[in-house]
């Protein structure tokens, strides 16, 4: 939505008008469970179970949810590291849902991934130069001025020193390794980057450095991000739009401001009220009522009927068990899948906490 001043660098071509860069419809991924003598399929883990969304060029979509909600699987499906069971993924209008390895290869230049764990996503036996230049080798690209020069430029772009070219990953700290991972993802000047928990393994002070780096790179190169994270405050900081996932489904998707100011789905409300606030006075004055969800996330092997959140929802009624709520737009750009959404006008006083979080000082 915010088309950044990415035109300074010629390579990422301006996206086609109004056509979303990425369009996902009804995406599902069921992991079969096999059992018995003949290894027949006895069930399926419904990790991703029918999700739809679009990502426009130049914007950042944040995806939040608890562990096991399918957000990482979704990221792997979009980058086609995993084969979807059903649904459709379109990248720049091309259907990439079931492309083979060979057919996918040219597209890998455009979609790259940043992984969560900077310790296991870099090969310890390769030097930084080898790691960051791998995309050039694999794609048969001869960058201008030679590979070494290109790699050193990338390292510099990501806040590392070009002299690090011949070092090994173990010589770097976690934050620096994450920068190496980012440099590798940027090597082929992709249009889109899928980042799976890019900062959750890092210390707070380093986390802020990497968040700012991602921000700068987007401004500079006109990148489109899909950022998967569990930390709601980080997602708020980096995203233009945010999707909330629960048990393989998107329960709410909206503009950042609208979502954080007036979350409509009870689950989003619960998630936000659970985030610890670094303000002891708030606790002492008891000013903050928190929604405590009971129990755990149900198993995705056998999800609850109807609305999947109903087993933990304080608003659940009979209709929630029988009919599945569809993702519908209640306001412009604010879609919710709930039978009893909280209205931003505040006509529903049923929730324990009606006041939005960020109105307090």
């Amino acid at each position: 939505m915010t088309d950044t001043q990415g035109a300074t660098i010629p390579s990422p071509a301006p996206a086609p008008e109004r056509e979303p860069l990425l369009k996902v419809t009804g995406l599902t991924r069921h992991f079969p469970i096999r059992g018995g003598l003949l290894r027949r399929q006895t069930g399926a883990v419904r990790a991703v179970d029918g999700i739809d969304f679009t990502v426009n060029a130049g914007e950042t979509l944040g995806v939040v949810g608890e562990s096991g909600c399918g957000k990482s699987t979704m990221g792997r499906l979009i980058t086609r590291l995993d084969e979807p069971t059903g649904g459709k993924i379109q990248f720049e209008g091309t259907d990439i849902t079931h492309l083979g390895v060979g057919a996918m290869r040219p597209l890998r230049r455009d979609i790259q991934m940043i992984f969560q764990d900077p310790y296991s996503s870099l090969n310890p036996r390769h030097t930084v130069g080898t790691i960051v230049s791998a995309p050039f080798r694999l794609q048969g690209v001869q960058p201008e001025g030679g590979v070494k020069k290109a790699v050193q430029d990338l390292l510099e772009l990501c806040g590392l020193s070009p002299e690090h070219y011949n070092r090994y990953p173990h010589e770097f700290s976690g934050g620096q390794r994450q920068r190496i991972g980012i440099a590798r993802a940027l090597a082929l000047k992709p249009k889109m980057i899928v980042a799976d928990e890019p900062v959750s393994a890092l210390d707070v002070s380093i986390q802020a450095q990497v968040v700012n780096l991602l921000d700068d790179l987007q401004q500079e190169l006109g990148l489109t991000y899909l950022i998967i994270a569990h930390d709601l405050s980080v997602v708020r900081h980096v995203s233009d739009r945010v999707a909330v996932m629960y048990l393989g489904k998107i329960v709410e998707i909206a503009d950042r401001d609208s979502l954080y100011r007036s979350p409509m789905h009870p689950y989003t409300n619960a998630l936000m009220s659970a985030v610890p606030v670094p303000d002891p006075r708030r606790r002492q004055s008891g000013g903050r009522e928190r929604i405590l969800l009971k129990g755990d996330v149900p198993s995705p092997i056998n999800p609850p009927s109807g609305c999947r959140f109903r087993t933990r929802c304080w608003k659940a009624q009979d209709v929630c068990a029988s009919r599945e709520p569809l993702l519908t737009a209640l306001e412009t750009g604010h879609q919710v899948a709930c039978h009893f959404p909280e209205r931003s006008e505040g006509n529903d006083g049923h929730s324990p906490e009606n006041a939005p979080e960020n109105q307090g000082s």
Partner: protein, 356 residues
């Protein structure tokens, strides 16, 4: 800043009398092939019963080593421990390993970060809780111990505790495992509970449940709690007092409310500034602390924070040559910084506070 005196009534004035736990100039160094690692280098604090101390710091700041040191879990030949750890007047460092073993689990208990690796996968949850109980209650029968274990599981909120007692750790979800570990830690009514990153591996919703549980249990048992974490939000939820560690040293220590309202040390400013917050208006950019945490083998000379400190130049070179000592900047609030207190307050109100 001035209103820190009138914090709400329940942050009562520090209880009088001797502290239950008193750590004096604790140093824990490890001999390694690369050199001496000064993991903890002169940390002191007091903790009263019924109070919670939060220890905050980045990875490698020595916060976990401190807690393991209090538990007496650094008894390898390579660890050099000095200083005093007084538990109810008894020095744990001078005490023999047998004495510490008697206390560990009964007076001192610990909750670890990762419940899947902290519990034995081969034994049922019940067997592990029962063992913890019977070690310190040799006269208890198996039946009594089992009843006690069921009671504890029930107390921490595990449904159908009598049935779940015979489950293995892998049959529990992450949150339930953490609850089971809390049950195990509390089975002997310890007077001191150390929680080392108790919620880091958990989702926010489960984290909220566990933090609530720890708070309720503390109210009920009146024990002293040390909570170690890198998440300032978590300490704000639980702690009465906060100790900020950097490079093996305590750089700031004070009551929770004043530490968040009027932090004294530039490192604490950095931590607060680099954290995106849901309770504030969205900032355009985060303000990270530049550079990386120091290596504990080559701790920077003088103030360990000086290579990353934006105000190091204002100290007239003292920051690189002299180690700052912890001095009282406000009542009960100590900081180790070369900047004069007035100067710090000015910088904080003028430059830092507006962007927090």
């Amino acid at each position: 800043m001035t209103d820190l005196q009138k914090t709400p009534a329940d942050s009562a004035p520090a209880p009088l009398g001797d502290p239950f736990l008193s750590v004096r100039d604790l140093r824990i160094h490890f001999d390694t092939d690369d050199g001496l690692v000064r993991s903890v280098d002169g940390v002191s604090f007091d903790l009263h019963k019924g109070r919670t101390l939060g220890i905050v710091g980045e990875s490698g700041s020595g916060k976990s080593v401190t807690s393991l040191g209090i538990m007496g879990l650094h008894r390898s030949k390579r660890a050099r421990i000095s200083g005093e750890i007084l538990l109810d007047g008894e020095d744990l460092i001078a005490a023999g390993p047998d004495r510490v073993r008697q206390l560990r689990g009964r007076e001192l208990a610990m909750i670890f970060q990762d419940p899947l690796t902290a519990m034995h996968p081969y034994y049922t949850v019940g067997a592990q809780i029962i063992e913890a109980y019977r070690v310190h209650h040799p006269k208890a029968t198996k039946k009594e111990a089992r009843a006690r274990a069921v009671e504890m599981l029930d107390r921490v909120g595990i449904p159908q505790p009598d049935r779940r007692l015979d489950d293995y750790p892998h049959q529990f979800s992450g949150g339930m495992r953490q609850r089971a570990m809390i049950a195990m830690a509390l089975v002997n009514d310890p007077s001191l509970l150390i929680a080392d990153e108790p919620t880091t591996a958990l989702d926010v919703t489960v984290q909220a449940q566990i933090l609530d549980l720890i708070r309720d249990l503390q109210e009920e048992f009146g024990s002293a709690v040390i909570i170690i974490t890198h998440d300032l939000g978590v300490v704000a939820e639980l702690a009465d007092d906060i100790l900020v560690m950097y490079g093996g040293k305590c750089v700031e220590r004070g009551p929770a409310a004043s530490l968040f309202d009027a932090p004294e040390h530039p490192y604490t400013w950095g931590l607060l500034g680099s954290m995106p917050r849901l309770d504030r208006e969205l900032q355009e950019r985060l303000v990270p602390v530049k550079g990386t945490p120091p290596s504990l083998i080559n701790v920077p000379s003088g103030c360990a924070f000086h290579p990353r400190c934006p105000y190091a130049a204002l100290t007239g070179g003292r920051s690189t040559s002299e180690v700052p000592v912890l001095t009282e900047a406000a009542p009960g609030h100590h900081a180790a910084c070369h900047l004069a207190a007035d100067e710090r307050h000015r910088i904080f109100t003028e430059e830092i506070a507006p962007r927090l």
